[in-house]
């Protein structure tokens, strides 16, 4: 070995201190293309857990898992998608179907982990570096896997509708109904929101399948008033329909109506009847409104002998006497009620409890009683002159019209109030040929009436006057007229954080003379038929019952429901109250039949 060989490594070492001859080229980051379909991003706060991503995934790579912090939010299942990257193929169908538009993909595509179980994560809930990435695949604006707009409903124009009491809504044709049903993603979020928890996705599917008899059976599982609810339901289901987040919600109510309209009432017995096994128990129901008749129907199906006591000459309660026929024609309501009667429910009309039949006698004679007497007493405006003969109640006007009687409203009418009764009274007055002003003490946006009723009353040229507080009713000297003094209101913030309060502006008063004033500011209950000894044992607050579990009152035999026992005071809640009371009465009278007892 020469000396040179021995020293050469040291000569090489000296190069280490020289400037390198090569160029430094660090390994570049290679980001995915701007619209690359990389790892998932879910905006978990906007996601409502409808599970459409899970359903559409062709590789079964997505599970829906409960996430505590989202539990119990309205219109939210509390579940969030969890991705198994062992199965995902990044096709992005989950992003394309996402109803809430919360699911996207980042352009990130590298993720190294030693443990294969790591490639399994709940996007948006588990922290990931790509969660805030703005790049990656997003569904293009306007691109939907289902049509975002609902099928238009054919309706009478406002000019046509005010001419008569004909039904305003024409209903879907089969072709329209199928197209509308096709938009449903079948997530079932609406089922929780529906007070009666109707099997909405299932009956919508029956439309797609063209199997309306199954649809009818499904509806009767939870609601014996589908023809009615298909027309006038408050349809809270539609408010939470995920399709409505980026488009218009499925017209669930119109689809329900469509099914009922397809089946002739002659076929109901064949489709719906099941064997009733008499159980020997007797139940009395007081009030033949939706709550009472719903309880009667489900009790009868369970084998009870049911007698319904009704003070009026026919059944339906507020549906009959409070909802005008242009929204709910009598034959639709009768279709529902006739079937309930046909299963063997006995209704005693024109029977007033406390007069024709004594409440205490019912308590002795029946094994259980369901009270659903509704709210039938118009609330007072508490202003001077209110008892003037030309001040009519909204309920009375509607009941007169329902009975085919002329309510004698004249040609120029003021309606006081902002609820559905006020809107109905106003629209009925328009149909009777009157010019109508609606005076409401708060802003239009705060009216408790259904938005579509407000819209339609405006279209029918009812003049809505907001922030108008009635002050006094005055006699004009004529028997056919009446004068109202009302003042403008200013909305004042409530220091306690409640909703703004209207405050009367004394310097901005108006007086106007009308042929009549229709007062429709709410209604209360009349519980005088209950003997004082029994009343004392019931907790009654502001004229309403406060039911416990299964709609039971403080007395074990008495169950309560409907407007007189709930806050929402709508038909569908009453129907569920009746159904739930039937479940409760069955548990009470047949305790052995239920494992939970």
């Amino acid at each position: 070995m020469s000396l040179k060989d021995l020293l050469s490594p040291f000569f090489v070492w000296q190069r280490a201190f020289e400037k390198p001859w090569t160029n430094m080229r660090p390994i570049e980051e290679r980001p995915g293309a701007p619209a690359y379909r990389g790892f998932h991003i879910n905006l978990a706060d906007s996601c409502i857990g409808c599970g459409s991503c899970h359903t559409i995934c062709q590789n079964e790579a997505i599970d829906m898992v409960p996430v505590e912090e989202f539990s119990g939010r309205p219109g939210d299942s509390g579940l969030r998608p969890r991705f198994d990257y062992g199965r995902c193929c990044w096709c992005a169908l989950c992003v394309d179907i996402c109803t809430a538009n919360s699911l996207h993909m980042s352009n990130e595509y590298t993720w190294l982990a030693r443990d294969p179980t790591d490639y399994h994560f709940t996007a948006g809930v588990e922290e990931k570096p790509w969660q805030d990435s703005e790049l990656g695949y997003h569904r293009a604006e306007g691109y939907h896997l289902y049509p975002p707009k609902r099928i238009d409903m054919d309706m009478l124009t406002a000019d046509e509708s005010v001419q008569s009491f004909d039904e305003v809504v024409n209903g879907y044709s089969e072709e329209q109904a199928k197209l509308e049903a096709d938009r449903c993603v079948e997530c079932g979020i609406c089922v929780a929101t529906c007070p009666a928890h109707m099997d909405v996705p299932d009956y919508i599917r029956s439309i797609r399948d063209g199997d309306f008899e199954t649809g009818l059976q499904l509806m009767y599982r939870t609601n014996p008033f589908p023809a009615t609810c298909g027309r006038i339901c408050t349809h809270r289901c539609e408010e939470v329909c995920p399709v409505g987040i980026t488009g218009q919600p499925i017209a669930i109510r119109w689809l329900k109506r469509f099914i009922v309209d397809q089946v002739d009432s002659i076929d109901y017995a064949r489709i719906l009847d099941s064997e009733i096994i008499e159980n020997g128990h007797k139940v009395a129901v007081i009030g033949a409104g939706p709550g009472g008749l719903s309880a009667a129907y489900y009790l009868r199906k369970k084998g009870y002998s049911v007698t319904v006591y009704e003070s009026q000459e026919t059944g339906g309660g507020m549906l009959r006497y409070g909802v005008p026929s242009y929204r709910l024609p009598d034959d639709a309501l009768d279709k529902d009620i006739d079937y309930i009667i046909s299963v063997g429910v006995d209704i005693r009309y024109n029977t007033i409890i406390g007069k024709d039949v004594m409440f205490e006698d019912l308590l002795g004679e029946y094994d259980a009683i369901f009270l659903s007497t509704g709210l039938s007493v118009p609330s007072s405006m508490r202003i001077n002159g209110e008892d003037h003969p030309r001040v009519l109640s909204g309920l009375q006007v509607l009941a007169d019209v329902a009975r085919g009687k002329d309510p004698g409203i004249g040609r120029k009418v003021a309606v006081i109030g902002g609820g559905n009764v006020a809107m109905d009274a106003a629209r009925v007055s328009r149909r009777l040929g009157a010019d109508v002003d609606i005076l409401y003490r708060r802003r239009i946006s705060e009216m408790p009436a259904d938005p579509e009723e407000i819209k339609e009353s405006q279209e029918e040229k009812c003049n809505l006057v907001e922030k108008a507080i009635p002050v006094e009713i005055m006699d004009t000297g004529s028997k056919k007229q009446v004068t109202i003094k009302w003042g403008e209101a200013e909305m004042v913030q409530d220091p306690k954080g409640g909703r703004p309060r209207p405050v009367l502006q004394e310097d901005r008063m108006h007086t106007e003379t009308y042929d009549c004033i229709i007062s429709a500011i709410g209604q209360g209950s009349n519980l005088d038929f209950i003997t004082p000894a029994v009343q004392e044992q019931l907790a009654i607050e502001w004229g309403k019952f406060t039911p416990g579990e299964y709609q039971r009152s403080e007395l074990e035999k008495i169950f309560v429901g409907g407007d007189v026992a709930n806050r929402t005071a709508d038909a569908i809640s009453a129907i569920e109250d009746g159904h739930h009371a039937a479940r409760g009465i069955d548990r009470f009278l047949k305790p052995g039949a239920y494992a939970e007892n």
Binding site: G72, D84, H120, G188, V191
Partner: protein, 179 residues
Amino acid sequence: MNTLLDRLATDFGIYDISDRKPAITTLKVEKQQAERLIRELRDREGYTHLNFITCIDYIEQGIFTLVYMLHNYGDKSTLGVEVDIDRENAEMTSIHTLWAQAWTYQRELREMFGINFPGSPRQEEDFCLEGWDDIPPMRREFNTKTYSTETFGHREGRVSEDPREHMKAQLYPTRGGDN
């Protein structure tokens, strides 16, 4: 362009002409006329480039629509020639004699849709689905979900909840349904 389309309508019976995008026009032609039309477009009308061949499955109508996308470098126009063929025993004239690369597309169409192109080279060989043992996967009767369920195993410990049932259990256990 319009003169050309008018002439093609007379000579080849093309129909359903539509402008899809600027400089992309599609037209339909009967299966029997297709090869002759495409040859004419290549040799006489400047459509010398075959962009691609693809297929759309119209299962409801029982047809496949083949699309031959041709490009003219002269006027930078693109023509999509669409040909409907029966889904049953689907078969089409091969155009690999017009453009050599056509056989690759045809091999892919055979594998993905099951369309036969008699005479096209290497038709029988696997293209990208090595060892495929099911019906061609781009046919719409192919059920991707069923296939993936039957073919691929599941990671252990995976559980999924149904939104509707989960909400019932959480929010209204005693309500709803037939009780």
